[in-house]
Structures are given as structure tokens and as C-alpha cells.
């Protein structure tokens, strides 16, 4: 389908981007906040006014756009700058719809990050924000696949970003998305209780149809909704049969397993169906958020481009890795498969 050329990523783990570091950043009260030491590319007077989702999106965007120009910007974010959104909402209620300043309002619209990048890079091309909850980033990938099919000589920025805000943590907590007990992220994957821990992050990719010098190829993507494991089983077989070239196998599964006991059956099914394939996990390092599959894609492209896989992922594979399957389910309803391959 298309090739990844530049990548950038911000999560709670600094060691993702500095592989010599082997330490794990631990969660605080079931939240894994993204590191904030990568904003050098944003002028201080601008930085001050930005919410975290916008900061993460612009910082990761800057990192790749400094290396390669693009013809358009395609982002996925379920909530965008939700912190600003609720700040504005609080003002509405507290000042009883009095005189308000528009800054929080303008920044809180989910399309603000893609728009801001467009303004900063004077990019007048295609610009869009997909916001379909746990499939927002996947729809961004489908979009860019279609764009490159229509415009094979173009290059695009595609990415995903979401933040933990105090407020969405509260709302998700009310919805039962997070664990009732305080748990260290290092224990997350062995947990037997309901809920996960909150995470945030951003990952950006410069993609086009040029094979040479690419880090990885995104070969196929499939999104679907179901609560039934039988449907998941059927979709997985179908995906493997159609997406994987004849005679090849999946060498590694990057699983979105998030320690929520209610979702274990979905993740277990995928592992069981591909029994011979080793599996690696990442949500104990990033926490759960709707566009976490963007980080999974970043990890996959790192694994494929480095001779020594990331130490934190503890990947033990005897042979070189050619094909990586990403599987994620958001709340056991929205599901996605992404097949990423070595170039």
C-alpha cells in the first residue's frame, strides 16, 4: 500500500526515543503522562498557550516535517485538546455564559492540531482530522492509502494524537474504563481486574509510494466493529489470507492488550489463532488511549528498521522479522488489524 519514511513519537517512555536508556517510566495514580522534554521546536511564546495534545502533535509533526516536505496533513484524534474544551465549558457554567475569551474554544476543536501544522508549514494541501474514537487513527491510514492511490507521486503526513486530561480521565473513570485499584503499569499485563490505566501520546509518519530508503511498508488495514469473538476469528482469518503474501507468515504480533480483564478474550483469541507467532505488548508502557495504535505502528516500524529491537519490548525472535501484525480493540467494540512489513 504505502511506505513509511520519517517517524516521530512521544509517549510516557523517553527510552522509546533514546534506546540506550533502559528505565521504565512508571504510572502515577493509574496515569502514564507523556514526557514533556521534546518541545524545543515550538517557540516559547507559542508553547505557553498550547494544550498538551496540541503540543505533542506539533512537536512530533515538527520533527518529521523538518526532514521532509509533504503534500497534505491527515490526523486522527478522538478528543483533540479536551483539556481546553472543558476549561472553556467550565467558564461557560461558572461565569453563567458571561464574557469569555475564545482561546480555549479555538484550541479545543479537534481539527486545531492539523490546522496549526498547516499554518506553520504554509501547507495548502489536503488537511483533515478523523475523530472516530478508537478508530480515528485507522481512518487516517485508510484516508492516506486512498490519497496515495489517487496521487501516487505525493507525500503525506499521517499521525495520531490524544491527551489525558483531568476531565476525560474523570469521564472515562465514570464509564469504568480504568482500574478501581491503584496499580503500577509494570503490573498491568498480569492484572485480572476490569479496566486499564490512562495513557497519552502522539506518533507521526511521513508516507509515500517510494520503496527505496523506507523504514517499513504498511501493507493492509482492516477496521470492524463487533462484540463477538467468532466475528473477530473470522475477520482475522480473512485478513491474514488476503493481506499476507503467499508463503509468508506473521513473525510478530504487536498486541494492544491493556490489562482490562474484559478484553483478554479478544487478545487471547488473536494469539491463539497465530500460535507459533511471538507477541509483544506496549500498553504497560504507554497506557490506554483511543489513538494508541499510532504508537503501535511507530513501534513496529522501529522493530523493522533497527537491527536490535527496542530493549523495553523484550522481543525474542530467532529469525529476522518480516511481517508484523498489529491488533487493537478499543473497549471490545471497535477493532483493527494493520499489517506492517519490512522493505
Amino acid at each position: 500500500m504505502f511506505y513509511i519514511h520519517q517517524t516521530s513519537c512521544i509517549t510516557a517512555q523517553q527510552s522509546f526515543v533514546e534506546p540506550t536508556l533502559r528505565s521504565i517510566t512508571e504510572s502515577v495514580e493509574n496515569k502514564l503522562y507523556a514526557t514533556e522534554n521534546n518541545y524545543d521546536s515550538i517557540p516559547p511564546n507559542v508553547l505557553r498557550r498550547l494544550g498538551k495534545a496540541v503540543k505533542m502533535g506539533i512537536a512530533t509533526g515538527n520533527e518529521v516535517l523538518a526532514k521532509q516536505e509533504v503534500d497534505g496533513i491527515i490526523l486522527g484524534t478522538a478528543n483533540g485538546g479536551l483539556e481546553d474544551c472543558i476549561k472553556f465549558l467550565n467558564q461557560i457554567i461558572q461565569y453563567q455564559e458571561g464574557r469569555l475569551t475564545p482561546t480555549n474554544f479555538v484550541q479545543s476543536t479537534t481539527n486545531a492540531i492539523a490546522g496549526q501544522l498547516g499554518i506553520m508549514y504554509k501547507n495548502k494541501g489536503y488537511n483533515i482530522t478523523h475523530v472516530h474514537r478508537g478508530l480515528a487513527f485507522e481512518n487516517a491510514l485508510i484516508d492516506v492509502e486512498m490519497l496515495l492511490s489517487d496521487h501516487p507521486t505525493n507525500t503525506y503526513l499521517v499521525g495520531g494524537v490524544d491527551e489525558i486530561s483531568e476531565y476525560n480521565y474523570t469521564i472515562e473513570d465514570l464509564a469504568g474504563s480504568y482500574k478501581k485499584e491503584i496499580l503500577s503499569n509494570t503490573e498491568l499485563l498480569n492484572s485480572t481486574t476490569d479496566g486499564s490505566i490512562a495513557g497519552e501520546g502522539a506518533a507521526m509518519f511521513v508516507v509515500n509510494t517510494v520503496k527505496s530508503n523506507a523504514t517499513a511498508e504498511v501493507k493492509a488495514i482492516k477496521t470492524f466493529v463487533t462484540k463477538k469473538t467468532e466475528t473477530l476469528e473470522k475477520e482475522l482469518s480473512q485478513f491474514i489470507n488476503t493481506a499476507l503474501p503467499k508463503g509468508e507468515k506473521v513473525d510478530l504480533i504487536v498486541s494492544g492488550k491493556n490489562g482490562d480483564a474484559r478484553l483478554n478474550n479478544y487478545y487471547a483469541l488473536v494469539e491463539n489463532q497465530l500460535k507459533e507467532t511471538p507477541t509483544t505488548y506496549y500498553k504497560h508502557l504507554t497506557g490506554e488511549f483511543p489513538t494508541s495504535s499510532a504508537v503501535a505502528l511507530w513501534l513496529a516500524s522501529m522493530v523493522l528498521s533497527r537491527t536490535e529491537p527496542l530493549a523495553l519490548l523484550k522481543i525474542e525472535v530467532a529469525n529476522p522479522i518480516k511481517n508484523i501484525l498489529l491488533y487493537n480493540t478499543y473497549k471490545g467494540n471497535q477493532h483493527s488489524f494493520i499489517l506492517v512489513s519490512a522493505v
Binding site: T110, N111, Y126, N127, H132, E145, L174, V225
Partner: protein, 395 residues
């Protein structure tokens, strides 16, 4: 390339709850802008709005919805979606097929529940029925479950051009073979969030908006939903399509987070690229459904772009002078209006516009007229520079 045709349309806005009633209001220039009767806000007595005069309870009764957590946004979307599906004669099997996609554009989503969201976000309660209802995706996910749609489902937010991009994304899914039929459109309901946001930006008018008038004083917020069913022409030979979706484009103005460049670069890019996709020349366009919000900035930028693109600017209209600015729904309802103009070979007038903007000489159409209509362009421009244009053509 196979042509993409419109086989079903559905709409609810402040000027009508059906396609027919919307058309009648457009013909007679019957405005939907006026005093709020249902929505509660401090601005009810000072600002006019384009409100749909139906309570949530009455919508729920009509749609057979019991659940507490279905928002007004979802109800309006369901109302319009039901019409479009029925109009296109989609069978249950087609609706539930894996090659049917659903794409929604919205900017407010479930945030119309401003007070409930405030309570929940600030943990003022221990349980809440609404926690899954607030986000933008909640509407499409509700519709997908309601109709048991198995294909690709998506929600797009590009501010006021959201539903133009939903329509475009759906058409591209068909072109790429990722869907056989798509239900595409958009919805927004009145919300304290947008009312206060636009008010803080000082772009809400205290009178009925006057798009493209020298003395325009801002926009009026409205609420609406509209959906279209798009199919490949060769797949629906037994149907009589309304129109062809012949062109579309998305471009960015890359100028300011909440204003367009005076030269209208984004609007110009969107309009000219849509023409290129449709393989049409500017003089092929019979009629333009302009974005025309009635703000100082938009109407000037859009006029500049139209003047730059067209030797003679074709007859144009801002239907927002009747429906108000319905944000994420605006491109979808105006797509329906463009399709009606083609179907009935008629042009709808723009209200409240008296004196052309200085230096442009552009005056929107003031009276209803029958006219040959071949190609209609519909513009939608949003915050963050998100500009889109669609072109609909006669079959």
C-alpha cells in the same frame, strides 16, 4: 471512472423536517431564523438562532427511541438518515452488508449536553448515563449500531466543512472499491459550547444574518442534519438518481486558526481543484451555493476567491440566510439544496442582502427563478483553514 450518483437524500433543519418542506421554504424564502423557544441559554433574548422547533421528547417519540443517553445530535441525525435510507430504497440486507459505509461530519457531537458534561467532567456525580454520549464519534457509532451497518464507519471534524469531507471520504471509498454504497452527511445541534465560543469570537449577529451585504454583522447559529446515499451509477440501474457527485476537493487556507486570508487562498484552491476533479471549466458552473456565513471575514474572502476564479461569477446564494450556520451539518444540508436545484431546475434566493460588499460588486440572487441548471458548486470553509468544495451535476 464510474460515476458516483446520489440515490437518496434526507434532511431536517430550521426550515423544515423533510426534503419537500425545505424546498418549499427555499422557494418562498421562509426563514428559520428567529427567537429560541426550546434551547435554554442566556443569549435567548439577545441573539436570533435557527432552531428546530421539536423537543427531544417529541423526536424520541417519533423515532421510537427510549434510551436516556441518546443526544439531540443523534436524534436529528437519525431523523435525516431514516429519510435518506428510505428514499434510496436500501434493503435491510444492503444496509447490513460489509460494503455499506457510514461517514458522519460533526463539530459538536454529544457536547450538546453541556450541563451534563460539566457535571461529569468535574466528578459531581458517581454514576452517569451519558459517559459514552459526549464525543464526536458517539453519533456515527449510534447510527451504525441502529442500522447494523458492517462496513467502514468514520467521523470527521474539519469544523464547518466537516460534512463536505464526510461526503468526499464516502465517494472515495466507492471509487477505491472499499464500499459499494455509502451513507454520508453531517449533523450539529445547538450547544452552549458553540454559542459561547462563537460569541467570544464576536461573530454572532444580533440580527438576522446578511450574507454578502456591505453591512453584514455576523452569523446566526443553527442546527440541522442531512444525509445522502451515494452509489456507483452502474450498481443502481433500477434507480433514478438525483444527481452525480462530479467533483470535490479539500484544501487548507494555511493562514489563521479562526479566520480566512483576505485573498481567499484556501477557498480558491478548494473551488479550482473541485473543478479539475470534475473536469469542468469555471464557466460550466450554473449556480453556487456559497459558504456565505455573514461574517465580515468569510464573505470577503469567499468573494475574492470567486472573483479570482470566475470571469463572470455565476448566480450564487447563501442559504444560511434562512437556515443559519449549522456548522458540521452545513455542507450536507447545502448538498441537499444543490441537488434540489438540479432536480427541479431552479435557483433559490438569498435573504437580507441589500448592498453589495464594496469593491466586489457581487450580489447574491434575490429572487426565486426557474433556470437551466447543469452543475452546482457548494462551498464550505471552516476554522483551522479547512476549505472544501463539492460539485453536483445533472445525470
Amino acid at each position: 471512472m464510474d460515476r458516483i450518483v446520489v440515490t437518496g437524500i434526507g434532511i431536517i433543519s430550521a426550515i423544515g423536517e423533510s426534503v419537500e418542506s425545505n424546498r418549499l421554504a427555499l422557494k418562498n424564502s421562509t426563514t428559520g431564523i428567529g427567537t429560541l423557544e426550546l434551547f435554554e441559554t442566556n443569549y435567548a433574548s439577545t441573539l436570533p438562532f435557527a432552531e428546530i422547533k421539536r423537543t427531544n421528547n417529541s423526536l424520541k417519540q417519533q423515532l421510537n427511541v427510549d434510551a436516556l443517553n441518546i443526544t439531540r445530535t443523534s436524534l436529528l441525525a437519525q431523523h435525516a438518515c431514516n429519510q435518506a435510507i428510505l428514499d434510496s430504497n436500501l434493503t435491510k440486507a444492503e444496509l447490513e452488508s460489509a460494503d455499506t459505509a457510514l461517514i458522519n461530519g460533526t463539530t459538536v457531537g454529544g457536547m450538546c449536553l453541556t450541563d451534563e458534561l460539566y457535571q461529569d467532567a468535574n466528578r459531581n456525580s458517581t454514576t452517569s448515563p451519558y459517559v459514552e454520549s459526549y464525543d464526536l464519534a458517539s453519533v456515527a457509532i449510534y447510527l451504525q449500531e441502529l442500522y447494523n451497518i458492517q462496513g467502514i464507519c468514520n467521523t470527521i471534524n474539519t469544523a464547518c466543512s466537516s460534512s463536505a469531507n464526510a461526503i468526499m471520504y464516502g465517494a472515495r471509498l466507492i471509487h477505491q472499491g472499499k464500499a459499494k454504497r455509502v451513507i454520508v452527511g453531517g449533523v450539529d445541534s445547538l450547544a452552549k459550547f458553540t454559542i459561547n465560543g462563537f460569541n467570544a469570537l464576536h461573530i454572532l449577529s444580533s440580527e438576522k444574518c446578511k450574507p454578502f451585504d456591505q453591512n453584514r454583522s455576523g452569523l446566526n447559529l443553527g442546527e440541522a442534519a442531512a444525509f445522502l446515499v451515494l452509489e456507483k451509477e452502474s450498481d443502481c440501474k433500477n434507480k433514478k438518481p438525483y444527481a452525480i457527485l462530479s467533483g470535490y476537493a479539500n484544501a487548507n487556507d494555511a493562514y489563521h486558526a479562526s479566520a480566512l486570508s483576505e485573498t481567499g487562498d484556501g477557498p480558491y484552491e478548494a473551488m479550482s481543484t473541485a473543478l479539475a476533479v470534475a473536469r469542468l471549466n469555471p464557466n460550466d458552473i450554473s449556480y453556487i451555493n456559497a459558504h456565505g456565513t455573514g461574517t465580515e471575514n468569510n464573505d470577503l474572502a469567499e468573494s475574492a476567491a470567486m472573483i479570482r476564479l470566475f470571469n463572470n461569477v455565476p448566480p450564487f446564494v447563501s442559504t444560511k440566510s434562512l437556515t443559519g450556520h449549522t456548522l458540521g451539518a452545513s455542507a450536507a444540508i447545502e448538498a441537499v439544496f444543490s441537488i434540489l436545484a438540479l432536480q427541479h431546475q431552479e435557483l433559490y434566493p438569498s435573504a437580507n442582502s441589500v448592498q453589495p460588499i464594496e469593491g466586489t460588486g457581487l450580489k447574491p440572487l434575490a429572487t426565486f427563478q426557474k433556470a437551466p441548471v447543469k452543475h452546482v458548486m457548494s462551498n464550505s470553509f471552516g476554522f483551522a483553514g479547512n476549505c472544501s468544495s463539492l460539485i453536483f451535476s445533472i445525470v
